[in-house]
């Protein structure tokens, strides 16, 4: 929503009117955005209109800071600032909302980027190696062996950094919508009566819920309805320093010598969305990182996978091992120099004064160069490429694409893939993540008769009920039980009373911009669903005044006098209204939780109560149920009660208790009308997904800001909780105190299911961190709202559900997709494969490089520890880069142990990842031993076979060059066979890579050893003719064959015997798959919903309703300035754009479900 442009809209036309108190700060170079008024309603169209009004294109930078700069002092006991006093505020150096974009420019790119790159240990190490190689005494390899890979790596990284930077540079232009939300405001005035603003807090707490804020009731503020007036405002605000409490704000405003207290009700937090409010003015209190939202979003930490960390440890180990090897060889060199070298000086004189010690020292560094292939630079590049590839698979996956909102899955981080295969704990948000947040009026029971039965709809696929007879019906409402309409239209008095109650007993605010187009602003979506249901059945709630409710009852306008609203609260769990019908009849309508209402029923209702309870129970299914009841009141009693009510409500002390007593008194001997069942629909496939993940031994914790009942209820309906379960742990936020952390964790981990309710965003993150810290397990957090950001950032992997309104979660997530159910594919398929591939890659990569390097070690014992290489220098250069790069990449990009359907069929295949089985320190040691064995074979077999042999024509074949060729050919062939053994999934690409690489090796070798290359680059290619002269020898090939055989047979035998004796899960599944030659299993149909008898009688907001406001006189107070033309001409309700009232029944095919949704009611 293009808020920035809209903010500046009004300013644009009045540029010349800049007040003196708003000096244009020309010294401010960075782009900064300040705003006073906040318009977030139906933004796109607004933007267009504003642009049309301004002859110049509006650029954010065009408006220099004009309004109050908000800022903070470091000592932060409290924060002090003045409206429209820029120099004063600046003096405190509070945080602004500037955004830094690009990192480099054209000239600084190369030096800066290179500097950045060489700060990485690996790159610095290779630079150091290159420097070493430039020292002739040490250089055991030509400079190009290190330079070529290093330059390649640096270039690739630089290109990537440059493109990233260009993307960053371009981003702000297309992303202006975010800027407007960069500050917390103190509300000054708004377009609405009483200076109210309607605010949706979806991004703050994950629930879409209208909240009413009031500005300070000061006459001057009320008058502030114009930019020029706001500019002349001068006042001083003292408030608390920035903190993360969303539900608390304390401060004072001094204005004209008077001091007003500021509390949470007067603050418009960043992340809120204005609803149904044309404009408002505010004073920026906290900007940028100081905003409550940012304070709550937790620290952004650079995430690294456990494999990364392990790799770092291993690389350190390798460095240690390298040093050890070099030391051994250096000592060997010293001994050799003393014993042999000293007497060989005739043929190889030493440099002057060079001693064995110096030679040994030099040889240490020479061996550092030679053995550097233990930590090849290509390791890091390859790992990045593999992760990138596996991320692309996620982006490309059609099975994670959600057609309704045209949202493909997105891997926003490309460095965490393999971690997806190791998740042990999932922390899930509830609203919008597990549920769709669409409330559907589903069933009802009226006077002992049930309507809207689920089973019937399932069986007969009944059509939607036609509501066209009702002019005011909501076209989006659907219901499938025709008999109910008939009952109502036939004049059944109970049914009519039922819907009359629904139409009257609520605190919904109606809005009718056009004749017949009604929009309801409900505090909770459940309430909206009920009123909309009544509307469609012919009892239309049309408008309200503090004293009256105007309803259309089956086409006839009826005006009810509203005598009292007995509002909802958490203890009462019910609400009532007392109305007088046009006929003068006094009635109390009450709706509430079943248990509460049942206690207050007239004894004559007992029989009906039983029937209704039965309906409630078998219709359970995790629905939110409400019981409706009424009571006819006596005029005289009512008069007397009203008197007492007035007394009580004006009492100075014990007001609450007295009111409660009064309510209690009148809400008894109720007559039962029936019950409603509203469903907070789960997203598709949530129960199945949770079941699958549970089978994969992943523990799921639900962290929600919701109340316990709601959370539990969802737990039951999505299979997390079951009636028979014993170990259920439901935690409320208070348990999240520091001192209880360990206790909490211990208890929680003993339970099969954990639900944490009433947790704040930061507490969510704390829970995640707690598990991360003490369980040492890989965690994943999934959520959709800004309230989940901190937890998403805290977890090893953060997943954002996109397609919902707030993008905050997605923006800070590592992976995003549109539906919760895609999580199982992300983990069980992509995650598992990524992990498998990464582990296979690492294992193979270390194996191939260790083997390569160890051969040098063995050769040292034959060449006087002189740091002579076994292989041709070009082979050393190209081995990692060309000859073995593609086959292993092919394996790590394509390999699958079993395909995706089998992965779903056997979720237990996931567990090796959680246990870190495929690659660990143990596996690494195993890998080293294997390398050691292979290198022994690869060196000593060719040595033994060749050292005393001649060609078939008697000429030399035991020379260094022939031996080098033989050794490198053996090595390459063995490495390729080993790769073939590791590959489980042979696509054409794999074949091509393996054979292509071998072919490339021979082609490149023959080319480099050709006459032409030698004659042109004599010193670089001294191996001329070696390939032709030794590869035509049968004994060379027999040696290669024997070497390969001896390297491979033990591996095959070992693997075979392990499969026979201790098969892994993978082996078992693969075996089963093979033995039975099964076709891939069909994707499982979702099983019939588990019918649970659980239900909740909870359909109100958590907080006090706004009954008081509804009945308040102030509600219709017309302000003088209201008549002023609106700042923005507006033809229809913004609500119509953003918040269609959608209440649908469950029988709808999921495919037809529109992406819009309603959210759980909740107030922080």
């Amino acid at each position: 929503m293009g808020s920035v442009t809209s903010h500046f809209g009004p300013l644009c036309g009045k540029e010349e009117k800049r007040g003196e108190l708003w000096p244009r700060a020309s010294n401010v170079k960075k782009k900064r955005f300040f705003f006073l008024s906040s318009h977030r309603v139906c933004s796109t169209r607004w933007t267009n209109r504003i642009t049309a009004r301004c002859p110049r294109p509006i650029k954010a930078a065009h408006f220099s800071p004009r309004l109050i700069r908000l800022v903070f002092s470091v000592t932060e006991e409290e924060r002090l600032f003045r409206a429209n006093d820029r120099p004063f505020n600046l003096s405190y150096r509070y945080a602004d909302n500037a955004i830094k974009t690009a990192k480099y420019n054209l000239f600084t790119f190369l030096p800066l980027n290179l500097f950045e790159q060489f700060r990485r240990l690996a790159n610095a190490y290779f630079l150091f190696l290159m420097v070493l190689q430039l020292i002739p005494q040490i250089s055991s390899l030509s400079w190009f062996t290190t330079a070529v890979p290093l330059i390649l790596v640096l270039t690739m990284t630089a290109v990537k950094d440059a493109s990233d930077d260009i993307v960053r540079r371009n981003r702000p232009a297309g992303n202006s919508l975010k800027r407007g939300r960069f500050a917390d405001l103190m509300l000054l005035s708004s377009s609405e009566p009483l200076n109210l603003v309607y605010v949706e807090t979806a991004e703050l707490d994950g629930t879409k819920y209208l909240l009413v804020l009031m500005s300070t009731s000061h006459s001057q503020l009320i008058c502030v309805a114009d930019i020029s007036l706001s500019l002349s405002l001068s006042g001083e605000v003292r408030c608390e320093p920035p903190n993360n409490r969303l539900d608390k704000f304390k401060g004072t405003l001094s204005l004209d010598g008077q001091t007003y207290s500021l509390d949470n009700d007067k603050v418009l937090l960043r992340g809120c969305t204005l609803r149904n409010t044309e404009w408002c003015f505010g004073l920026v209190i906290f900007g940028g990182p100081d905003t409550k939202l940012m304070q709550n979003s937790g620290k952004t930490i650079f995430k690294r996978t456990s494999i990364d960390l392990l790799m770092n440890v291993l690389v350190l180990c390798i460095f240690g091992f390298l040093a050890l090897m070099c030391t051994v060889l250096a000592i060997g060199n010293a001994i050799w120099e003393v014993r042999e070298g000293s007497v060989f000086t005739v043929f190889l004189p030493r440099d002057q004064e060079a001693s064995a010690a110096l030679s040994s020292f030099l040889s240490f560094w020479s061996y550092v160069i030679i053995l550097n292939t233990m930590v090849p630079i290509s390791l890091y590049v390859s790992v990045e490429i593999i992760r990138l590839g596996n991320s692309f698979y996620i982006d490309w996956d059609r099975k994670m694409y959600y057609p309704k909102s045209d949202t493909p899955a997105q891997a926003r981080t490309t460095t965490l893939n393999e971690e997806l295969g190791q998740i042990k704990y999932i922390f899930s948000d509830k609203t919008g993540t597990l549920t769709q947040n669409i409330m559907t009026f589903n069933k009802c029971s009226i006077n002992g008769k049930a309507y809207g039965e689920l089973l019937m709809q399932r069986l007969y696929k009944t059509d939607r009920v036609d509501f066209s007879w009702n002019r005011l019906a909501d076209p989006k409402f659907s219901f499938h039980d025709h008999s109910l309409v008939e009952t109502v239209r036939d004049g059944n008095p109970e049914a009519r009373a039922f819907f009359r109650l629904l139409a009257l007993c609520h605190t919904v605010m109606p809005e009718e911009k056009k004749e017949g187009e009604l929009y309801y602003q409900a505090q909770s979506p459940d309430e909206g669903a009920l009123v909309t249901a009544a509307r469609n059945f012919g009892f239309v709630f049309r408008s309200r005044t503090p004293e009256t409710i105007i309803a259309m009852e089956l086409g006839r306008q009826v005006v009810y006098e509203l005598l009292a609203v007995l509002d909802f609260n958490n203890v009462r769990k019910r609400m009532s209204v007392i109305v007088r019908s046009p006929e003068g009849k006094l009635t109390l309508f009450c709706k509430g939780a079943d248990t509460i209402i049942y206690e207050r029923l007239h004894p004559s209702c007992n029989k009906l109560m039983e029937v209704t309870t039965r309906h409630l129970n078998y219709a359970g299914d995790g629905l939110r149920t409400l019981v409706l009841a009424y009571k006819d009141l006596d005029e005289s009693y009512m008069d007397e009660w009203k008197l007492r009510h007035h007394e009580a409500s004006t009492a100075m002390d014990d007001r609450e208790e007295r009111l409660d007593q009064l309510y209690e008194e009148i809400e008894k001997d109720l007559m039962l009308l029936g019950a409603t069942a509203v469903e907070d629909k789960l997203q598709d496939g949530v129960p199945q997904t949770i079941e699958q993940l549970a089978k994969a031994d992943i523990k799921i914790w639900v962290l929600t800001g919701d109340k316990q009942e709601t959370a539990e209820n969802i737990g039951y309906s999505c299979n997390m909780l079951r009636e028979e379960m014993k170990e259920i742990f439901v935690v409320s936020a208070f348990a999240l105190e520091k001192s209880l952390h360990l206790e909490l964790l211990r208890t929680a981990c003993m339970c099969r299911t954990v639900i944490c309710c009433r947790v704040t965003p930061l507490q969510k993150a704390q829970v995640v961190q707690l598990v991360k810290k003490y369980k040492q397990a890989i965690t994943l957090a999934i959520g959709d709202g800004a309230n989940d950001v901190s937890m998403i950032k805290a977890a090893h992997i953060g997943v954002g559900i996109s397609g919902q309104e707030g993008m905050q979660a997605v923006l800070s997530s590592d992976y995003s997709f549109a539906q919760f159910r895609y999580l199982q594919r992300l983990l069980l398929v992509h995650g598992r494969w990524s992990y498998l591939r990464m582990c296979k890659f690492l294992q193979y990569f270390f194996y191939k490089n260790f083997t390569f390097t160890f051969v040098h070690f063995w050769y040292a014992f034959f060449c006087g520890f002189s740091a002579q290489t076994v292989y041709d220098e070009w082979f050393i250069t190209l081995y990692n880069l060309v000859y073995t790069a593609l086959p292993v990449l092919g394996m790590s990009l394509f390999d699958q142990d079993v395909n995706d359907r089998w992965s779903f069929q056997y979720p237990q295949l996931y567990s090796p990842g959680q246990l870190n089985l495929y690659f660990s320190k143990k596996a690494f040691v195993h890998c080293m031993m294997h390398s050691c064995y292979s290198s022994l074979i690869l060196f000593f077999i060719p040595w033994a076979a060749m050292h005393d042999t001649v060609r078939d024509d008697g000429k030399d074949v035991a020379d260094y060059q022939s031996f080098a060729l033989l050794a490198q050919t053996c090595l390459l062939i063995v490495m390729n066979i080993q790769l073939c053994l590791d590959t489980h999934y042979w696509t054409a690409v794999n074949q091509f890579f393996v054979w292509g690489s071998l072919a490339a090796y021979f082609a490149v070798t023959l080319t480099m050893y050709s006459n032409g290359m030698f004659l042109i680059f004599t010193t670089s290619f001294p191996f001329i003719g070696t390939a032709r002269n030794s590869l035509n020898q049968p004994n060379v090939w027999l040696t290669i064959f024997l070497t390969s055989l001896l390297c491979i047979l033990p591996v095959v035998a070992f693997r075979f015997i392990v499969i026979q004796l201790q098969p892994t899960v993978n082996d078992k599944v693969r075996h089963k798959l093979r033995k039975e030659a099964l076709p891939a299993p069909e994707p499982r149909l979702p099983p019939a919903r588990r019918i649970s008898t659980r239900r909740s009688g909870y359909a109100f907001s958590h907080a006090q309703g706004y009954g008081e406001l509804v009945t308040s006189r102030r509600f219709l107070l017309k302000r003088p300035l209201r008549s002023r033309p609106a700042l923005f001409a507006q033809t229809d309700s913004p609500l119509a754009q953003n918040q269609p009232q959608l209440y649908r029944t469950i029988a709808e095919e999921p495919e037809e479900r529109p992406p819009q949704s309603e959210r759980e009611p909740r107030m922080f």
Binding site: W396, A944, D956, L1045
Partner: protein, 340 residues
């Protein structure tokens, strides 16, 4: 991606349905099953056995005679060894090698100490040898050394004359040895070339260069009998310049010339003597020198390692195959382990 961006409509961002992107590429998933592994092991055991036997027979058919003459250096004139081990005809081509032990031609500094540019006949390098040749770039007078470097400097300079003393009596017949054609074709013709400068003789071209320090004669006078075998393309030099991979090696000295009797079939049984002009010092670095006479087959010289290694591999493979079979029969066959 660019193609995708061009799409529009409600499913504009739907990923392509290609087998590659959906990871559904057709593939072959082999598995280590008893049906493949066990036959493979038995087959390998059998083939190694056959190969080993065949190679062993081949190797047995070659003949080899080694004679260590290191100690010959201690007496001034001659040194006699009686070796009666072999009294058979050396049939076919017979190759005469000199062998060195504990001579590290594979030291890095030693191996680097040569200039291929000089040896390929570049006149610039002839006069300005590469710095790699250190410390054999220039002699004391400052003249560039040709051929430069430690390798060329240390060329093996013993010479041998093999004499046949007949079957029973008669004067010793010198055994004719071909002293050329003992190098790789590529070495003789491409890697090593003499520098040319117009119509100048080799000696003139080499004018202004010094012979290596340990050489008794300059490079252009190495072979007085054949002017074409001088300079950098001298066969003995080329053979020496192909550095051995290991400290113990043998290098070809000559091939029996079989045009004349009694050497048409090879070296007949009888008494032979080798006259060694003993120049190359080895004692100080505990080296050994030997002469080797051998015949070759398609498999090369007499190297017993490969046939024996194949036989051992065969036995081991067979053993492993049996163990695997037993393990499979006992555990894997019934598939009980495979159940979950």
């Amino acid at each position: 991606e660019r193609f995708k961006a061009g799409k529009s409509g409600p499913s504009a961002r739907r990923p392509d349905n290609s087998a590659f992107k959906q990871q559904r590429l057709p593939a072959w998933s082999p598995m280590l099953t008893a049906n493949t592994v066990l036959p493979f092991f038995y087959f390998m055991a059998l083939s190694c056995m056959l190969l080993g036997v065949w190679l062993l027979l081949t190797v047995q058919s070659t003949q080899e005679l080694k004679l260590d003459y290191t100690k010959a250096g201690s007496c001034d004139e001659c040194f006699e060894i009686h070796n009666s081990a072999s009294c058979r005809l050396f049939q076919g081509d017979v190759f005469f090698y000199y062998g060195l032990q504990n001579f590290h031609q594979n030291l890095r500094r030693y191996m680097d100490s040569r200039d291929d540019g000089q040896m390929v006949g570049r006149t610039t390098n002839l006069k300005n040898p590469s710095t790699y040749c250190e410390p054999f770039i220039k002699d004391q007078k400052g003249l560039p050394i040709a051929p430069c470097g430690a390798v060329a400097n240390s060329v093996f300079n013993d010479s041998f004359t093999l004499s046949y003393h007949g079957g029973s009596s008669g004067p010793a017949v010198p055994v004719p040895l071909l002293r050329q054609g003992i190098t790789w074709y590529t070495d003789k013709n491409i890697k090593y070339r003499n520098p040319k400068d117009g119509n100048m003789t080799l000696a003139q071209v080499f004018q202004g260069t010094a012979q290596p320090r340990y050489w008794q004669k300059p490079a252009y006078e190495l072979d007085p009998r054949d002017p074409a075998n001088n300079g950098f393309i001298n066969d003995d030099l080329i053979v020496w310049m192909r550095e051995a991979a290991f400290p113990n090696f043998k290098k070809l000295y000559g091939v029996l010339y079989r045009a004349k009797k009694p050497f048409i079939k090879g070296l007949p049984a009888g008494n032979y003597s080798v006259d060694v002009s003993y120049n190359f010092p080895v004692q100080h670095f505990r080296g050994r020198k030997q002469v080797v006479l051998t015949t070759v087959t398609w498999f090369g010289g007499q190297n017993h390692f490969l046939p024996i290694a194949y036989l051992i591999t065969s036995c081991l493979t067979l053993l492993v195959a049996v163990v695997l079979t037993v393990a499979w029969c006992k555990f894997g066959k019934n598939g009980r382990n495979m159940e979950e």
